[in-house]
Structures are given as structure tokens and as C-alpha cells.
């Protein structure tokens, strides 16, 4: 097998190139899907054909325009109150994106802080954090966020808070483990020898090495945040009133699913595309930023 060493390294590098190529495709599809989502939510007022809460009871439950009985004014038809489905989809994207960006970033900041502290101080601090994470892992995440959102009350802030409180452990766990690994490496010891303080080592040596990991996690977390927002609005405890959300549209569509299945189908399609987009983006970023340890 020693004889193979030379040739294996050749095979390995060509596999790496192939891997990068594949990673590239994932990255670009991910970037494209997430880009479209961001663009749509940013330009919602410009591209939505109607006001998303404007009711037109005379033309309720119209099918999409390409189906018999549809109207060109409502490309994806209308819901039971005669609101434009396309416009509601577009404005829902806005809610989803806002929640995803803010909630995922906050969860990341809190989780990274906890992970760094636990991983670098060790001892009882680590014990305490680990026990806390244990307790969190014993909750069903979906139920916990539903309970949280319900007790905090309706509104965007409560949705974001629910996601942050439930999901900070995702970052904390990974960052804690990674910090411990990095601290055991030679360069951290070397930094200590040249007299860097703990904070200095953290800031200059450890944090930069955590970047690929956390960026990847962040992309994945945004996808998760979108899902949680959908779940909460589906259950009916997300943002208040007629603010359009994909989850709310699905819940409404569920009521009239036999008469107007498209009202439920369209937001599901949007959610799947968004989630796959964020997942591919995360995969692609991992391959891009950390090609050696790509598993």
C-alpha cells in the first residue's frame, strides 16, 4: 500500500478539483436563489401588482391567470377575500427575509459568545454552559419556539426572539468544540508564549479560524429561521393582523384546499426554493472557504 502513496496523492488532488467544481455549482445556484429572494423582498412595492391587503370580494378565489376563469390582473389568482396571491407571496418574502437576517445574526452572536467563553475558559464555566445546552437539547425545538412566541405575544419581535432563544445552541455547540480544538493547536500555544492575553488570542487567532464554520452555519440558520417563521405563522402566532406571511397563506389555503389548492401550493413552493437556496449556499460556502476539511 506504501507503493500507492504517490499515485493516491494525484488522485486526491484531482478529486479536490472535481469537488470544488461541484461545490461551485451548488454555490452559484444557492447564491442565485437567495439573491432572487433578497431582491424580491427589497423591491416588493415596485414589483407587486396589487396592495397585498387590498380586498376585492367580487373576484374572490380566482384561479391563476393561465387556468380557465383566471384574470390577467391576478397572475396567481386571488384568495378567499379576493386578495392578490402574487402580491401576498412577494410581501411574505419580505417578512421571511427580515426574520431570517435578524434572527440568524442574533442567534449567531449569542451562540458564538457562549461557545467562545465555554471553549476557552473551560472548567466550571464550560460545565455550566454544557449543562445549559443539554437542557436546551431536551426540548423539542418546534414546541419551544411555539410556546415562546405564544407567551411573548404576536409580532415580528416575538418571532425573532423565539428563534434566537431556541437556536443559539446550534452555534454555541459547534463554536465551543472548535475553540477547544484550535486552542490545542500549536499556534495558540505559540501565541501564549509570545505573551498574547487570552482575549488577544481569542480575537487574533481563534476567531478568524472560526469564520468558515460560522459563515456556513449562518447561511443554514437563515434557512431554518425562515422555516420557523413559517411554522409560527402557520400555527397562527406570528406577526399580527393581515401582514402577509407564507405560513399564514398556507393556513388559510388549508381551509379551502379542495376548492383552491393553488393558494396552499404556491407558498409551499416559495418556501422550498428559499430553504434549498440557503442550504446550497451553506454547502457551497463550506466548500469554498474550507476546501480541505470539506466533510
Amino acid at each position: 500500500m506504501v507503493d500507492l502513496a504517490h499515485d493516491l496523492s494525484v488522485g486526491h488532488s484531482s478529486r479536490l478539483v472535481a469537488g470544488l467544481k461541484r461545490g461551485g455549482a451548488r454555490l452559484w445556484i444557492g447564491v442565485a436563489l437567495v439573491g432572487i429572494l433578497l431582491l424580491v423582498s427589497l423591491l416588493a412595492p415596485l414589483i407587486a401588482p396589487h396592495d397585498p391587503i387590498e380586498q376585492d370580494l367580487m373576484s374572490a378565489q380566482l384561479p391563476p391567470a393561465w387556468i380557465n376563469g383566471g384574470e390577467p390582473a391576478y397572475p396567481f389568482g386571488t384568495d378567499s377575500l379576493g386578495r392578490c396571491v402574487l402580491s401576498r407571496l412577494i410581501y411574505s418574502a419580505r417578512t421571511a427575509v427580515v426574520v431570517a437576517l435578524i434572527a440568524a445574526s442574533l442567534a449567531a452572536v449569542i451562540g458564538i459568545a457562549f461557545g467562545l467563553i465555554a471553549g476557552s475558559f473551560g472548567g466550571w464555566v464550560d460545565q455550566l454552559t454544557s449543562r445549559l445546552i443539554d437542557v436546551w437539547m431536551a426540548f423539542p425545538p418546534v414546541l419551544l419556539s411555539i410556546v415562546l412566541a405564544a407567551v411573548i405575544g404576536a409580532g415580528l419581535t416575538s418571532v425573532i426572539a423565539a428563534i434566537v432563544v431556541v437556536d443559539w445552541t446550534r452555534f454555541a455547540r459547534v463554536v465551543r468544540a472548535e475553540t477547544m480544538t484550535q486552542l490545542r493547536r500549536d499556534y495558540a500555544a505559540a501565541a501564549r508564549v509570545i505573551g498574547l492575553s487570552r482575549g488577544g488570542i481569542m480575537w487574533l487567532e481563534i476567531l478568524p479560524n472560526l469564520v468558515p464554520l460560522t459563515v456556513t452555519l449562518l447561511a443554514v440558520e437563515m434557512g431554518i429561521a425562515i422555516l420557523v417563521e413559517v411554522i409560527l405563522s402557520f400555527v397562527g402566532i406570528s406577526v399580527a393582523g393581515d401582514t402577509p406571511t407564507w405560513g399564514g397563506m398556507i393556513a388559510e389555503g388549508r381551509q379551502i384546499v379542495h376548492q383552491a389548492p393553488w393558494i396552499m401550493a404556491l407558498p409551499i413552493g416559495c418556501i422550498i426554493l428559499s430553504v434549498i437556496g440557503f442550504n446550497l449556499l451553506g454547502d457551497g460556502l463550506r466548500l469554498l472557504l474550507d476546501p480541505v476539511q470539506r466533510r
Binding site: A138, P140, A150, V257, M264
Partner: protein, 335 residues
């Protein structure tokens, strides 16, 4: 060493459950929102409200409330539901079997599908078609269970209405059961027509729970199979005249099973947690659906009881996985 680890886990269970209890309890009470306000009948006097608050102990300080509640819990008394006016323990116990049957069926489907997908994937290893299997697994994995629930509901419930999309059994069927394990009971007592009706209702929610988990099982198992197949002992089996299927089955599979159970088992909590929404979507009467009702009704005692129930299930599942892995891996057993 390994047994020591399991004992350590056992010792950690009570403090973890205590932590869960504290957090849920405090969480429910520090935030605004009065459950009594939702249950007072119109025309109730302030005296009535005060009496109700006192009845549920909501007029005392949080610490006092917690001590009282926790003391009762230790005695097996989980309090009374505010919205349904029954004992929490009895309520949960009546609904739990429905969820367990659903989760178990989902687990069986997931393991079956995952096994098939992994075997197809490993069979196609190194060929162009392997890529297709990987993509399929990736898509199944990216879409979570509650979206599958909605998709299945649309496809097989509405567009091609093959299966019922709501409930555990047809309401017009008048059947009596001795236990709440309807499916298990009907199978054991040989009432296969009833079991068939139950399965018809369960298949869509179970499939929704199973699909992402099946993809997970398939991915871990396929990777583990590939890794084990590259090991010396599997290669040498080739040089001993065994065919590839024989080697995969006899030499590779027992080894690949260990990481699959270890990683996949821990992730099975996702499947269990997924029952909350999937049950809701299919109006299936398990504890998940009940939990959402409890949240909407601000039924504090019921929420507390249900969250604790899920926590116990999660911890038990993790422990079971540890035990099975230890039994599968002789190196851990003797270590």
C-alpha cells in the same frame, strides 16, 4: 469505560429534567398573558376571577408556585388542565399512544426507505448514477417534515385523493378499544380491517415524518458503507473469493451500522419533535396537536406536562441509542 459513560448519562437525567421544568415554568410566568382572562365566562365578577386564580394557584409568588407544582409532580400529580378541566397526567397518557404509534411507524418507514436508498447508492458507487442518488437524498433532506406533510396533503389528499387527510380514524366507525394503542391493539386482536383503517389515516403523516429522516439515514449509512468497504478487512474478503453482495452484507454492513445508529439515533429526536406540526396539519389526535392547542389556550399546567413528556422521550431516546451502539460494537462493550 463505556458503561461508565452510560451511568454518567443516567445521573445527568434528573438535573436536566429539573432544568427543563424550571425554564418552562418561569418562561410561562414572567411574560404577560393571563390564562384566567381567557376562561372567564361573560358576566363574571372580580370575586369569581380571584377565586379562579386562587384555585389554580396563580395568585402566589412564582417561587411558591414552582415549589408547590414541583412537589406535586414528584408525587405524580401534574395538576389540572385549565382549558379541558381534567388531570394533565390522564390527558397526556390518553394521547401519548397515538403519537408513539405514529412516530414508530414513521421510524420503520424511514429505516426501510433509508436502507434501500443507501444500498442502491452503494451499489452504484463510482458510477454516474450515484450522483442522482446523492441529489435525491439531498433534496429529501433539505425539505423538512412539516413541508412534506403539506406537499403530501396536497398531492395524495387533494389532487389525487387516495388517502384521508385528517384524524386518526373515521369518526363514523364505532369501535371500542381497551387501550389507546389502537394500531397495536387491533393488530394483536386480529381486527385487520380496523388496523387497515388506522393505517390509512397514519400513512401520510408518517410518510411526512419519515422522508427527511430516511434521507438522513441513507446519507449516513451510505457514507459509512463506503468507508467500511475501503477498509482492509473488506478488501481482503474480495481476495478470499467472496462476492461483493456477500461482503457488503456480512463484513461491511455490521460495521457501517454502528455509526449509522449512533448518528441517526440522536437525530431521531427531530422526527419525534416533528410530530408537533405534522399532527397539527393532519388533525391527528396525539400529544403534538394537543400541545399547540394548549399553547393557544394558554393552558399552563398542560404545556408544562407536555414539554416534560417530550423531554423525557428525548432523553430516553438518546439513552436507548447509547445502549444499542454499545451492544453493536464489541470494542465498546469490553473497553
Amino acid at each position: 469505560m463505556r458503561w461508565g459513560e452510560i451511568i454518567r448519562r443516567l445521573v445527568l437525567i434528573p438535573p436536566t429534567l429539573f432544568g427543563v421544568a424550571v425554564i418552562v415554568f418561569v418562561l410561562l410566568r414572567v411574560v404577560p398573558g393571563d390564562p384566567i382572562a381567557m376562561m372567564i365566562p361573560p358576566g363574571a365578577t372580580p370575586a369569581d376571577i380571584t377565586r379562579l386564580r386562587a384555585f389554580y394557584g396563580l395568585d402566589q409568588p412564582i417561587l411558591q408556585q414552582f415549589v408547590t407544582w414541583f412537589g406535586q409532580v414528584l408525587n405524580g400529580d401534574f395538576g389540572r388542565s385549565i382549558s379541558v378541566h381534567q388531570g394533565v397526567f390522564e390527558l397526556v397518557l390518553a394521547r401519548l399512544p397515538a403519537t408513539l404509534e405514529l412516530a414508530l411507524l414513521a421510524l420503520l418507514i424511514a429505516v426501510g426507505l433509508g436502507l434501500i436508498a443507501a444500498l442502491i447508492g452503494i451499489h452504484l458507487r463510482g458510477r454516474r448514477m450515484e450522483w442522482l442518488v446523492d441529489i435525491g437524498i439531498g433534496v429529501l433532506l433539505a425539505v423538512p417534515d412539516f413541508l412534506w406533510a403539506l406537499i403530501l396533503l396536497l398531492l395524495l389528499g387533494v389532487l389525487i385523493p387516495l388517502l384521508p387527510i385528517s384524524g386518526r380514524i373515521d369518526p363514523q366507525l364505532d369501535i371500542s378499544f381497551h387501550s389507546n394503542f389502537y394500531l397495536v391493539e387491533s393488530l394483536l386482536t386480529g381486527r385487520f380491517d380496523v388496523a387497515d383503517a388506522l393505517l390509512h389515516h397514519m400513512i401520510l403523516p408518517a410518510l411526512a415524518l419519515a422522508l427527511p429522516f430516511a434521507a438522513l439515514v441513507a446519507r449516513i449509512l451510505k457514507t459509512s458503507l463506503a468507508e467500511a468497504e475501503d477498509q482492509d478487512y473488506a478488501q481482503i474478503a474480495r481476495a478470499r473469493g467472496f462476492s461483493r453482495p456477500e461482503i457488503l452484507l456480512r463484513e461491511v454492513f455490521p460495521n457501517a451500522l454502528i455509526p449509522t445508529v449512533a448518528l441517526g439515533g440522536v437525530q431521531a429526536t427531530l422526527l419525534l419533535g416533528g410530530t408537533v406540526l405534522v399532527e397539527r396539519i393532519f388533525s391527528y389526535e396525539g400529544i403534538g396537536n394537543m400541545a399547540i392547542d394548549a399553547v393557544i389556550n394558554r393552558d399552563f399546567p398542560l404545556i408544562q406536562g407536555l414539554v416534560l413528556t417530550f423531554a423525557v422521550l428525548f432523553i430516553a431516546l438518546n439513552l436507548a441509542v447509547d445502549l444499542v451502539v454499545t451492544l453493536l460494537d464489541p470494542r465498546l462493550r469490553h473497553g
